[in-house]
């Protein structure tokens, strides 16, 4: 309604990239996000970085949550980040990585533009709070 234009729904893409069949975490997060009132698009398993980029651009998501438990984050995430940049989507997409990421790698990912890395033990409330606080303002 024109009366309350600020009724914005946060859209998220929960993505599984690469050869990694462990999707329980991604499912749990998708549900938690849904229950927080977000619109969640789930990518399904074994997606290539280009597919994730395509989905993120077309769906115009505010938040891209990448779940990687295979340890391949340092090759897959850069591809996604440069793909987003190619479409001019890197700046106003909040990119989160979930998985087992060593501190050293976490620094590198953040330099690439990843907003936060959530490891084992991160709480749902913490993540939802982070998304609410950091979801990019849109033009």
């Amino acid at each position: 309604m024109a009366a309350d234009p600020e009724e914005r729904t946060i859209r998220c893409l929960v993505a599984k990239v690469g050869l990694d069949g462990h999707d329980r975490g991604a499912h749990v997060i998708a549900r938690a996000f849904r229950d927080a009132g977000f619109e969640v698009i789930y990518s399904g398993l074994h997606r290539a970085p280009e597919e994730i980029v395509q989905a993120a651009v077309q769906e115009d998501v505010d938040v891209l949550g990448i779940s990687i438990l295979s340890g391949a984050h340092d090759t897959l995430v850069p591809k996604i980040m440069s793909g987003l940049a190619e479409y001019g989507a890197a700046e106003d997409t909040l990119v989160l990585v979930g998985g087992i990421v060593p501190d050293e790698d976490e620094r590198e990912l953040k330099e690439l533009g990843v907003a936060e890395v959530f490891g084992p033990g991160a709480s749902m409330a913490e993540m939802i709070e982070f998304v609410r606080a950091n979801a990019p303002e849109r033009r």
Partner: protein
């Protein structure tokens, strides 16, 4: 434009200089701009109406297919296969996949995209997931506008996919030129359920998962129902004036099938393997050809615009009145006065609408 009381609706000028940069980018083929425009449409963000207005002159070339059916009927998988087939023909495709949202939190998991793996990585297939967002009526407006954005972008084929559960969804598929209703096999009772509403809007039926037991039966049931006439109920049952009722039926029947010259086909598919997709494409092309030949295409598009104007007016008038009521102290104050016996609901409505009515009457008299 809303203040334009002259009675002549002026279209947005299609002046390239006056274009919103977002519209210019969209028309230039920028995927990001298309995605952002659809977001604004969905959010009803400030200024979205101007965007849609500016897109309007660039629309009308795409053919729009609506796909509906019960959950698990295989809609997304079939849409995926259709998109693949269109791409093989060198056509570009836009898909709007609508899923329900939670009435409690407004949240949703939009899962249709998972099934659309055949064309992944191909940017000439633009898939957009939308949630119903619990907005009554608003969904069909948003869908129509999103279709318009895809059309203006230059998509040749646009597919709108939605769960066919209620009136809302029926309104949504009405934004399509052709409506395909999916019926899974073994759904004898579902076929019965189809009678109410969905049957009438179908231009063709798809019995998907045709490799399962019961597919033949479902096809037979459907065929029988179509042969009976649109209502699907045996004529005469429960009617007193039997002959009259039967006659009424035949008129209906003619309206739908005979006069229109379109005999609604039933296509069997196995979406997973792609079996029957060719036949479905033929049926869709056949319906398109029929629409153009008979002039029905012009007619349904005109009816659709009329419906759209009606919906917009209803929403705008609602907003206008809501603001006015607020200005006058809120609806509760009026309700309390009614309760106290000072006035009645009809007088209140008259009072609120009076200025509008006077304005219109003055205009009608002045000309």
């Amino acid at each position: 434009m809303s203040d334009d009381g002259t009675g002549t609706a002026t279209p947005q000028s299609d002046d390239a200089d006056a274009r919103d940069p977002l519209v210019a980018d969209l028309l230039a083929g920028d995927h990001r701009a298309l995605a952002r425009v659809i977001t604004k449409i969905e959010n009803r963000a400030p200024g979205y109406r101007d965007l849609v207005s500016q897109l309007h002159p660039h629309t009308g070339d795409a053919s729009v297919l609506g796909v509906t059916g019960s959950p698990g009927a295989g809609k997304s998988t079939l849409v995926d296969k259709l998109a693949e087939a269109y791409r093989d023909q060198g056509l570009t495709v836009g898909i709007i996949a609508i899923d329900p949202s939670s009435p409690f939190t407004g949240g949703a998991v939009l899962g249709d995209r998972i099934r659309m793996g055949s064309t992944v990585g191909d940017m000439d297939v633009f898939v957009r997931s939308m949630s119903a967002r619990g907005s009554l009526g608003g969904l069909s407006t948003a869908t129509a506008d999103a279709v318009r954005a895809l059309d203006a972008f230059g998509k040749d084929r646009i597919i709108v996919e939605t769960v066919g559960a209620g009136q809302n969804e029926i309104d949504v598929v009405k934004t399509a030129d052709t409506v395909a209703v999916l019926v899974p096999p073994g759904s004898g009772d579902d076929v019965q359920m189809l009678k109410a509403g969905i049957l009438e809007i179908a231009d063709l039926f798809v019995v998907n998962k045709a490799d399962l037991d019961g597919a033949d039966r479902t096809v037979r049931d459907l065929r029988e129902m179509l042969d009976y006439g649109d209502g699907g109920a045996p004529a005469g049952a429960g009617h007193h004036g039997a002959s009259e009722a039967v006659e009424g039926y035949e008129v209906d029947d003619q309206d739908a099938d005979v006069t229109d010259g379109w005999d609604r086909p039933i296509v069997e598919t196995v979406a997973k393997s792609g079996e029957g997709v060719e036949a479905l494409l033929d049926a869709l092309a056949g319906h398109r050809e029929y629409l153009e030949r008979s002039g029905a295409l012009e007619e349904i598009r005109r009816a659709r615009y009329a419906e759209e104007i009606r919906t917009l007016l209803r929403e705008d008038l609602h907003d206008l009145l809501a603001a006015e009521i607020e200005r006058r102290g809120g609806l509760d104050a009026y309700a309390s006065r009614v309760q106290a016996g000072e006035t009645d609901p009809y007088a209140v409505a008259d009072d609120l609408l009076g200025p509008l009515r006077e304005r219109y009457e003055a205009e009608a008299g002045g000309e």
